[in-house]
Symmetry: C2
Subunit: 118 residues, 2 copies
DNA sequence: GTAGTTTTTTAGAATAATTCTAATTCCAAT
DNA sequence: ATTGGAATTAGAATTATTCTAAAAAACTAC
């Protein structure tokens, strides 16, 4: 954990709105004015590969980052652009409802829902 | 439906291996040697926006395209790079198992599973 | 503490999928 | 045939991300 990685991680935890690397860069600059965007990407890469942060991709938009490690999906509000976490109801194992091929081992499951709030 | 769009659509239906735009470009060139990559993107955009083809994104890899319109997910085999369709078991309504916010209207649901075959 | 080694950060260049631009071609309807 | 509108094309532009090389920082053993 370097100083930069810690600040990036804190930025992510302090406002869980699924910011992009650019947004994280801007928020991190308030704390570390000389930080570079490459460092933001490096830090995020380190945090993601150590499984303390999840990278969230919706369509081909810039990646967003999320410190929620529990298995969950994302609701992308088309009207506001917001992305919020969607938890599964208790004791739900998604894989049970899927027609997976013989011998399939799931390493990662990604659920993205797009829509709006009525 | 122009000639190019028809060939692109036929290419997609004749081999349902979720090709990228580049792969579709190469396959289309066999039929239309003077076609351009921009046209492939244009045609795919037209087909996707008219809801006859689905665009499939896994991570930040190049988009893949799929003529299967039934609601389904995708299994991404990390060992082979293959992407295959995953159907839901009969009468399963995923939304029932999710903690959606009040008033959420689902317009699109995207399920990507990464793993391998044992 | 200091010399030596490794890791991280940084700025800027490079990359690659996709989109845009402007010119040309195609086609349908007059 | 001519015109008008849309589609196609080649190539330039865009943009999120990755790479490169150099400088800075962090560690390690002495």
């Amino acid at each position: 954990m370097t100083k930069q990685r810690k600040v990036v991680y804190d930025v992510l935890r302090s406002k869980r709105d699924h910011p992009t690397a650019q947004m994280i860069f801007e928020r991190t600059q308030k704390e570390l004015p000389t930080v570079s965007l490459a460092t933001i990407y490096n830090c995020l890469e380190a945090l993601v590969s150590h499984d303390v942060v999840k990278q969230v991709n919706v369509d081909r938009e810039p990646s967003r980052y999320c410190p929620n490690l529990a298995e969950h999906g994302h609701f992308h509000n088309k009207q506001t652009g917001d992305v919020i976490d969607i938890n599964f109801k208790p004791d739900v194992n998604l894989a049970e409802f899927l027609d997976l091929p013989e011998g399939a081992v799931i390493e990662d499951l990604e659920l993205n829902i797009k829509g709006f709030l009525k």
